[in-house]
């Protein structure tokens, strides 16, 4: 009897509320009869199970349901059906006319893919050509049968339908697989004994309130016993984004080394990025394969006349071609941090040290190794009598301070705007020798037109994203810009889950 009283003392109000209805057949019925909230009931069941008052049985179920596009397709037909219908009328369609069917580019691609896979159509010199026989055209495709049968329990699916799901799963919002956990319960002997008690008599103090303290009523009542052993819901504090935090450290270190930070616009013109950096206007690096060009027409920048004149003269005398300011004003998305150094030169102090952490853009397909935007850390050091050996010293310092890499070597390299130029390689404990940055002494052809005189300028840049990946212990570069809040919150998943 005493054990039973102890158990009653530890019952929370919601537990007490549902105990009389534990004979219900399902959670739904229990919620309804006890007139309680479902989440609360589920939590209470958990607690009751811990106390041996009920036994819980969990079962997982997966349900396939229509996605937002799926609902539309159910009404209007799948893209491949719409393409097929159009094809069956005219046998072949020019790719350029395909938009008239009313499919967007992605849908059209998916539709062509689906029909090709079934050998119902083929692509030839820009035309989609019907291959299917009439009876094939009329037949309902597996995918169509599938979406008409939704929602359906995953476990009830035939193998053909599972195949259809694999096909549709990767397309945008056609189907969704909802996973849910079901729980059923059965009251134990202890529970049954509790059900025979009048629980309303047990008037324990729940939440202690200011009122209870003030009026002293706690002297006459007992405190309900909490289960202090079972886990409580997690909370998450504020945290820095790990990649930005790394960049913040880099910034702090460079400031401590005496560097002043530069900043600039994401949209640049070719003048500062190429012409001022001594790349002739016909140079291969200016081709669209390595630079994003801007479609819009914006105001032309007013660049100081003597700078334009200086750059023009330098190009024409060194590269022997007709330099044209018009080609220099084309707009691009900043492809390299060096453009900030170029802009800094005319206003730089001598001696001076400057750096930038710049978001840069490059037309790369986004994958585990490439991003179309990334950050570069770049800088310049201006003074009289600086040497290549001094540059090596600074690079060694950066490798150690920023990359934590002690073992480095210097390798001859080429950059259009530095001579001599060098590439710095560092020995990474896990990855062996890796390239960590490039540097050099700015060419006189760059310095003179921008500063007006010959000053030795050491210029350097570090592949900071790579260093960040090593530091953060990630091997997919996309994780630097993670869209997964769990990853950012520092939750380690055993399951291999995408951080994007």
């Amino acid at each position: 009897m005493e054990g039973l009283q102890e158990t009653i003392k530890a019952l929370s109000p919601i537990e007490k509320k549902i105990i009389p209805f534990l004979n219900s057949a399902s959670v739904g019925e229990l919620v309804e009869k006890s007139k309680s909230d479902k989440t609360e009931v589920l939590r209470a069941l958990d607690f009751l199970a811990n106390k041996g008052i009920v036994n819980l049985v969990y079962s997982a179920s997966k349900k396939v349901v229509l996605g937002t596009n799926g609902e539309v397709y159910l009404k209007n037909g799948l893209p491949e059906r719409r393409l097929l219908t159009a094809l069956s009328k005219q046998n072949s369609i020019n790719l350029s006319d395909a938009s008239k069917i009313g499919l967007d580019d992605n849908e059209l691609k998916a539709a062509i893919g689906a029909l090709k896979r079934r050998a119902m159509a083929r692509l030839e010199s820009g035309k989609i050509i019907l291959e299917a026989k009439e009876e094939e055209v009329c037949k309902k495709m597996l995918e169509e049968q599938l979406i008409e049968s939704l929602p359906i329990n995953f476990d009830d699916l035939s193998p053909e339908k599972r195949y259809a799901i694999d096909q549709l799963k990767n397309r945008k919002e056609i189907i969704r697989i909802d996973e849910s956990k079901d729980v059923s319960f059965k009251v134990t002997d202890l529970g049954k004994r509790l059900q025979s008690q009048d629980l309303s008599k047990a008037n324990y103090i729940e939440q202690i309130t200011p009122q209870i303290i003030k009026d002293g009523s706690w002297e006459k009542r007992n405190f309900r016993k909490y289960n202090i052993i079972s886990p409580v819901p997690r909370i998450f504090g504020g945290r820095k984004q790990p990649y930005l935090s790394f960049l913040e450290d880099v910034r702090e270190k460079l400031v401590r080394l005496g560097f002043e930070e530069m900043s600039g616009s994401l949209v640049e013109n070719e003048f500062w990025n190429f012409d001022a950096l001594f790349q002739p206007q016909y140079h291969v690096a200016r081709a669209s394969a390595s630079t994003y060009y801007v479609k819009n027409k914006l105001k032309d920048e007013k660049i100081e006349k003597n700078i334009i004149e200086g750059v023009k003269k330098q190009h024409e005398s060194s590269w022997k071609y007709k330099w044209d300011i018009k080609n220099a004003l084309k707009l691009i998305l900043r492809p390299q941090g060096t453009v900030l150094s170029a802009r800094q030169l005319p206003k730089a102090k001598i001696p001076g040290k400057y750096f930038a952490i710049a978001r840069c853009y490059r037309p790369d397909v986004v994958d585990a190794k490439h991003l179309s935007e990334f950050n570069q850390v770049e800088g310049i050091i201006l003074d009289k009598n600086l040497t290549l050996k001094n540059l090596f010293y600074m690079l060694g310092l950066f490798a150690k301070e920023i990359g934590g890499i002690k073992d480095i070597k210097f390798v001859p390299h080429y950059f259009p705007f530095t001579e001599p130029s060098v590439e710095i390689h560092g020995k990474h404990p896990k990855l062996g020798w890796i390239e960590i940055g490039g540097a050099g002494i700015l060419r006189r052809e760059v310095v003179k037109p921008l500063i007006g005189k010959d000053v030795t300028v050491l210029a350097w840049g570090l592949g900071i994203d790579r260093l960040a990946m090593y530091k953060l212990g990630i091997d997919d570069i996309r994780h630097l810009f993670s869209y997964n809040i769990d990853f950012l919150r520092g939750i380690k998943n055993d399951k291999k889950e995408s951080v994007n």
């Binding site: 998450f236 913040e248 930070e261 479609k295 001859p412 993670s482």
Partner: protein, 544 residues
């Protein structure tokens, strides 16, 4: 940069020394190239110097290795003999592709590898240095099939037929552009031309139609070919001369004997190739001051010889001579770098500098750091998202009509085709990726956007809070907290915005200017992103 395929055996033969893969890898540093991969005898080498097309060839690489290992130093010696070969340029070619430089090389012993290397040289140099054949196209022909003199002229597209390389029947010039692989690939280079350029010999046998294709008869080089005629055509000697020089030196390195060709163009007459030495004088002290060394003049001269220069010193000045397969030497520094490389970067001991300056972060970085500290103290998670996005995210998915935005002219993917002008879509995209994660979610980003009206990049702050009970008050408390702590004098005005619920949306105002927006996100927008939790967002510009 171009990747070239070379044979290890061929390279060792050219150098005259057996080398291991590791030795070759080390030696390649002198040419700024890197060994990308090796499979048995086949080495894939990525060239590193855009201005040294001579180093995009195995012969050029071997030349450098010979110098650096001391096998053969100083300026290489190539003999160029006189001859009676003549190429006449006719006036009508002036409009379409006016210039050519030519050479003859005799006594060649081609094998599979040397033919492969010659073709590769032609491809890589004309593609890279010659800008996709536009500025320079190179043709090599069997000299023994040619009846001299050769005429460089132009024909209208339907008036001439010849058998192009790797085909068996004659096609008109027009048909070649339509039917031959190379014709289709390079047709754009003759797009606006009324007549197409043609090299043709005295027996009216066509040699080629530059920059498209050689003829199958004279323009085919095989292992049996002993003597060749070479031409490079284009618009400027800056492009075509270096390529001619590079190929004749390469063939000479394999034992060929170079002969001159006279080119008559109306009244003007030139004779090519011209391999006479170029020279440049540098100051020994300046050289030392750039590298940070204290080398004697004789030592500098020796290093330069390893880099295949001839060098003489006199009274503090060093005069170097070099052959015109190098077209990269513009400034003294171009020579000085070669001194440093020959000295060895690994032999240059780093030397501390004492450039004393006071470091400081930019104002915006400092402001960002302080705000970030505040928000983290308020329990918020910092995030970083992409600045490149698409119109769908920026307009349709936030329930707004399409507006003006910075667009990329050459996007790789439709997903990354615009520069964002607001952080709000980025926040929604982030939340939409986390709908199955634990709530509440409180996130912020300080990132860059491009404001197209003001034509400038702006750094903005956005905060998003999402959980079942979030409302305007909660997000407003965050804003007020930041404004108070950072002494930003703001007020809130009423505002209508399609992304937010009317009556629960405010304009953030500072100095009578709108600098941001705050409110409860409209359920219509949330549904578009498949977000099922209420969400409040603020966005504020931190600098203008």
């Amino acid at each position: 940069m171009p990747v070239i395929e070379i044979s290890k055996k061929d390279l060792c033969n050219l150098v005259g020394k057996n080398m291991t893969k590791e030795e070759i890898e080390e030696m390649l540093h002198f040419t700024k190239s890197t060994l990308e991969s090796d499979e048995g005898d086949l080495l894939k080498v990525e060239a590193g110097d855009a201005n040294r097309p001579d180093l995009w060839t195995v012969e050029g690489i071997a030349r450098v290795i010979k110098g650096q290992t001391g096998k053969e130093t100083g300026m290489p010696d190539y003999k160029v003999a006189n001859s009676n070969y003549v190429v006449n340029i006719e006036e009508n070619v002036a409009k379409v592709r006016p210039l050519t430089v030519c050479a003859v090389v005799k006594n060649l012993k081609f094998d599979e590898e040397s033919i492969k290397q010659m073709i590769q040289l032609q491809e890589k140099l004309c593609e890279g240095f010659g800008l996709g054949r536009k500025e320079a196209a190179l043709g090599v022909y069997d000299l023994d099939k040619i009846k001299w003199p050769i005429t460089y002229t132009a024909f209208s597209p339907d008036k001439l037929k010849f058998v192009p390389l790797e085909m068996d029947k004659p096609l008109t010039l027009k048909e070649i552009l339509q039917k031959h692989d190379k014709g289709r690939q390079y047709a754009h280079l003759l797009k606006d031309a009324a007549e197409y350029p043609i090299f043709i010999d005295n027996a009216k046998e066509v040699l080629s139609m530059p920059p498209i294709i050689n003829s199958n008869y004279t323009g085919k080089v095989t292992a049996d070919t002993k003597n060749v005629f070479i031409e490079v055509s284009g618009f400027s000697y800056n492009f075509i001369t270096p390529i001619l020089n590079i190929i004749v030196c390469a063939l000479s390195d394999r034992g060929g004997k170079i002969e001159k060709v006279t080119i008559l163009n109306g009244k003007s007459k030139i004779t090519t190739p011209d391999l006479s030495a170029q020279s440049k004088t540098i100051d020994a002290d300046y050289c030392n001051s750039i590298i940070g060394l204290n080398l004697k003049q004789a030592e500098i001269c020796n290093l330069l010889k390893k880099a295949r220069f001839d060098a003489k010193s006199q009274g503090g000045k060093i005069t170097v001579q070099y052959l015109p397969y190098r077209q990269d030497i513009m400034d003294d520094r171009d020579v000085i770098e070669d001194v440093a490389i020959a000295y060895g970067y690994s032999n240059l001991a780093p030397e501390e500098t004492r450039v004393t300056t006071i470091g400081k972060p930019s104002e915006i970085s400092e402001e960002k750091r302080k705000i970030s500290e505040l928000l983290i103290g308020l329990g918020m998670q910092e995030i970083a998202t992409f600045t490149l996005t698409n119109k769908n995210n920026l307009f349709k998915k936030v329930n707004k009509p399409e507006g003006n935005i910075v667009e990329v002219a050459n996007p790789i993917s439709e997903n990354y085709a615009c520069l964002r002008d607001s952080l709000v879509p980025s926040m929604l995209e982030f939340l939409s990726a986390n709908t199955k994660k634990e709530f509440p979610q409180k996130v912020f980003e300080m990132g860059e956007v491009y404001n197209i009206e003001k034509e400038c990049t702006q750094t903005r702050l956005s905060v998003a809070i999402t959980h079942s009970k979030v409302n305007f008050t909660e997000i407003r408390q965050i804003l007020d907290n930041i404004a108070r702590s950072r002494s930003i004098p703001i007020s809130i005005g009423e505002k209508k915005d399609n992304s937010f619920i009317e009556g629960r949306t405010g304009a953030i105002i500072k100095d009578e200017k709108e600098i941001g927006i705050i409110g409860e996100v409209h359920p219509k927008v949330l549904s578009i992103w498949n977000i099922e939790m209420p969400c409040s967002i603020l966005e504020i510009t931190l600098e203008n």
